[in-house]
């Protein structure tokens, strides 16, 4: 997604028409990242609108030393996380003890994007958020920790648990063959 410097400059001068053009050029990307974090369309529409209003207020001070799209993504993930925090949906779920062992090795075939999207939507918000930020948008652990206001160690643990939970979700949905067999408890 290429945004011309002239368009950004016009927005900085307060040109609302230019800003509308900027929104049209970026709305699908921004809406998608917000939706992937908040997990539903109603909240995503509200948060995405909030994102653009923040951008509109701040664009006069945008120095242009980073791509405007990277800046937009940062504002979007921040706003989406803030919205989850406001709804108290960012707490880590309580994980059951993993009393599981592997039955037999198997090869996991490629997973369809539709199946991954559906499994992501079923994850707790805290897990969905770290996975989307890390895997889909390639953010560093440090950046994720900063945005989620946690330590890098906590972000790593959350990411590890989120990956395990996503694998479980895909197993439960029958997308990948289960590798585990529950341990018999006496």
């Amino acid at each position: 997604m290429e945004i011309s410097p002239d368009l950004v400059e016009a927005c900085r001068r307060g040109d609302v028409k230019a800003f509308e053009a900027l929104v049209r050029a970026t709305e699908r990307q921004v809406y998608t990242v917000v939706y992937r974090i908040v997990g539903n369309h109603d909240d995503a529409a509200d948060v995405a609108q909030e994102v653009y209003l923040k951008v509109w207020k701040a664009i006069r001070h945008f120095r242009g030393d980073a791509a405007v799209t990277s800046w937009l993504y940062r504002v979007a993930t921040n706003a989406a996380i803030a919205s989850l925090r406001k709804r108290k949906r960012l707490a880590d779920p309580v994980e059951p003890d993993r009393l599981a062992e592997i039955e037999a090795p198997a090869v996991t075939p490629a997973v369809e994007t539709g199946d991954v999207e559906a499994a992501l939507a079923r994850l707790p918000a805290a897990y969905r958020t770290v996975l989307v930020m890390r895997e889909t948008y390639g953010m560093s652990i440090e950046e994720i920790a900063r945005q989620m206001k946690s330590s890098t160690g906590a972000a790593k643990v959350r990411l590890h648990r989120a990956r395990l939970r996503l694998a479980d979700e895909l197993e439960r949905a029958g997308v990948v063959v289960p590798l585990r067999r529950e341990k018999k408890t006496s």
Binding site: V23, E27, T32, H41, I102, T108, V116, K156, H160
Partner: protein, 133 residues
Amino acid sequence: MNCERVRPYLTAHAAGELPAHTESWVAPHVEGCAICTSLAQRHATIGASLRALPEAALEPPPGFAAAVARRAGQEERRKPIPIPPMIPAEMIKVLTDNRDAIVGSAGVLLAGAGAAWLAWRALKSRSPRAQGA
């Protein structure tokens, strides 16, 4: 080396995120263990499908851009005072560098205003209406 010790690092190993010193003992175990290899491969496959998710997969509601622009326009009109196109640090520097000139000009302006007021008072007191009263 057993599987239990390696398992907490397996997802990060599959994503290539482990620091070298941890990778140096996790990788040899994974290579020699069929079950850990298949688990790592599973996480790598799922990670790859997450990375393949398109960045612009979803359409916002119809009329989204127009609605945002409308609200931006309202925000623009709501601004109470126009901000000079100068950042505060620069403004402070300009004021500091020209302090003497600014103080001098302000003094001249004040003296001029004072003289004008005195002249107006004098003229007013000499006017026929003032004398008659």
